[in-house]
Symmetry: C2
């Protein structure tokens, strides 16, 4: 059901020829009101694509009418021509929807450097076609239209008493947290004030999408947008809404992890007893970005030495000689030395659970990552993406 | 010629059974004087192997008589038993050489977590055998005895007017700068004061070994040791000595890069016109650690978008829309946009030259790295190392 699960949203996905496969590549999600609350978080990469530069301005007043998204080209590092393409896309959508261009967000994904006249023509005609095709059933095809190297479309719906949140996400490579780490559109018919929507989105993404670090590579185009129209007439408390939004965000983050390029393991890194949550995140991320650890997991090798070597590169409080490490339930390292034999660890399942007990404080954090595989190298070397 | 090229040094390498292949695995390098000046730099990984903990103390007075090195086990995270093994190794060498154990440095390399009674027995008997075999011709076999996944031994000699520097290095994976990034022993018969030796070593390694970042993974066991005995009777100026030491260090660093596990490209990343040297290093390293860029080079794909995306994650001063990128002499990106067609770039040679012009200031830095290949994944997943 995706983004059209909540009341008062329409979406569409159409094939505009940006993908050589002829599959859908332009999506539009429109908020039919009554409220037009919008909040968005953007990649913290300082090299930002044109749609990011545009959308940051357009979302600043927290009023968003619609989001136009394309795959098949990132429109990043395409100069002023590329920025004009984004601007024209917003103008085109605004004209057809009868709203202000300043309330249209634009997202692009695909190869950096793609954004010539042919690209522009296809994006503009795709926007027109998609708006003509808008429907309350369009959530699924919209989710398909934003796929790049994704093997499956990713959608999620969370329903509460009388109100709903729906979402779609794309992302398979260049997955590492800036603030957002992929293209995501989330809709809700709950009644939210603009600042509530903003706070809920930042809180939910900070603990979900922002803790997914598949390959350590931060995108130039990432954006997570929340549209809230109040169509349900129900105003949940901010805390309740944030919890539901985090649930949906985590579901999408896990789907992104599960479809990461070439991965053969989904690794959950749970850091326990850190001094602070920030240090727990730092430790988890340092392990998630360690190629030797990631390659070992691909080889079903419970190489805890590489885990400790990665922790040693952080500034987190810990005693290297008082750390415990579990892999899939087996304590392979205790007090910084070998514990159970590595033969006891079964790393054949795709789901891999690593627990690191720092024994310092009470803070905890969980980072999601993937292994480093032949297929990851193949997919990212054989084709430009 | 290796470490025995300068006058007054002896070395040996013997097979003590630590390597299952029966190849040499214990090396000793001894300074026969007259001076016993020693300086060392160590991994900045906070998870330090037992030999690092020992050697940091032993080198503190800048008097070093000998270095004992073993491959076939890192003696890291092996508890107090492992530390005692290191201590006993130093005691054994000191006894046989008739010097103080506090003047013996110890280095180990191999799998983390290896350091049991069998390991200890082999290291101690290997130390005894190696000391019995010491000779002024022993440099080459010593270099072979410290190899792990290295495919070739790495040695270098720099000769000046009447004095010489010799060196040996090992390292093929887990190659990323802490301060030192591998096991290296460098000898010289130049006359140096202890503080001069220390300053020269830090200056030379800071711009050579410390700028080699093959796979972003920092070792727990890295150590670079300089032994200076003054046997030539010649005291070069510190500046002259540092320049010669940097030349030798760079030669060894390039050999390490050339033998990096599974690599098919040696990538030189030259960052120009940065605001500061530190920012140039930060930019170079961010690109060197970007898996998507590294995989693209493996695939002979001049993917400059991934270069700019990596730069965007740094805190260096730059304008994403005024950066130029050259690959093997072709400007593929100018002012943050596409320039020459990618077809013009020939990435088939192993040597790959990337130039990033930040157009901000006058500082420059060069980082050496490798591509991310199927073989890297294979070597680091199929075997525990």
């Amino acid at each position: 059901m995706s983004v059209t699960a909540p009341a008062g949203f329409e979406a569409a996905g159409v094939a505009a020829g940006l993908k050589t496969t002829g599959k859908p590549d332009v999506a539009v999600v429109v908020n039919r009101g009554p409220r037009k609350v919008g909040a968005a978080v953007f990649t913290s990469n300082r090299a930002k694509a044109n749609p990011i530069i545009w959308s940051q301005q357009a979302a600043a007043d927290r009023v968003v009418e619609a989001v136009v998204l394309n795959s098949g080209g990132a429109n990043c590092f395409t100069g002023s021509f590329g920025f004009q393409t984004t601007h024209q896309t917003a103008e085109k959508a605004a004209e057809l929807l009868g709203v202000s261009a300043g309330d249209i967000l634009v997202c692009s994904t695909g190869l950096i450097g793609v954004g010539d006249e042919v690209f522009r023509g296809k994006v503009l005609s795709g926007t027109e076609q998609a708006i003509a095709a808008l429907s309350t059933d369009g959530g699924q095809v919209a989710a398909e239209a934003i796929m790049t190297t994704d093997s499956v479309s990713k959608t999620a719906v969370v329903t509460r008493d009388g109100w709903t949140i729906g979402g779609m996400a794309k992302g398979a490579g260049m997955l590492a947290p800036g603030l957002a780490t992929m293209l995501v559109v989330i809709t809700t018919d709950a009644v939210l004030e603009p600042l509530e929507a903003d706070a809920a989105l930042r809180a939910a993404t900070g603990r979900t999408f922002d803790r997914l670090d598949s390959d350590g590579c931060m995108s130039t185009n990432d954006q997570v947008t929340l549209l809230a129209n109040g169509a349900s007439g129900i105003a949940p408390g901010v805390e309740e809404f944030t919890a539901a939004l985090a649930e949906l965000s985590q579901e999408l983050a896990v789907k992104l992890q599960g479809d990461a390029e070439g991965a053969s393991h989904d690794i959950t890194i749970e850091v326990q007893h850190a001094a602070t949550e920030a240090e727990a995140v730092e430790v988890g991320r340092s392990v998630a970005r360690n190629n030797l650890f990631k390659a070992a997991i691909f080889g079903n090798d419970p190489n805890w030495g590489r885990v400790l070597a990665a922790i040693g590169t952080t500034s987190a409080q810990f005693d290297p000689y008082d750390v415990d490490v579990w892999m899939n339930g087996v304590r392979v390292c205790s007090e910084g030395g070998p514990d159970r034999p590595r033969e006891e660890v079964d790393l054949t399942p795709r789901a891999t659970h690593l627990v690191i007990d720092l024994k310092v404080g009470e803070a905890t954090a969980t980072i999601l990552t993937n292994d480093l595989t032949h297929d990851y190298v193949h997919e990212n070397s054989a084709y430009a993406s």
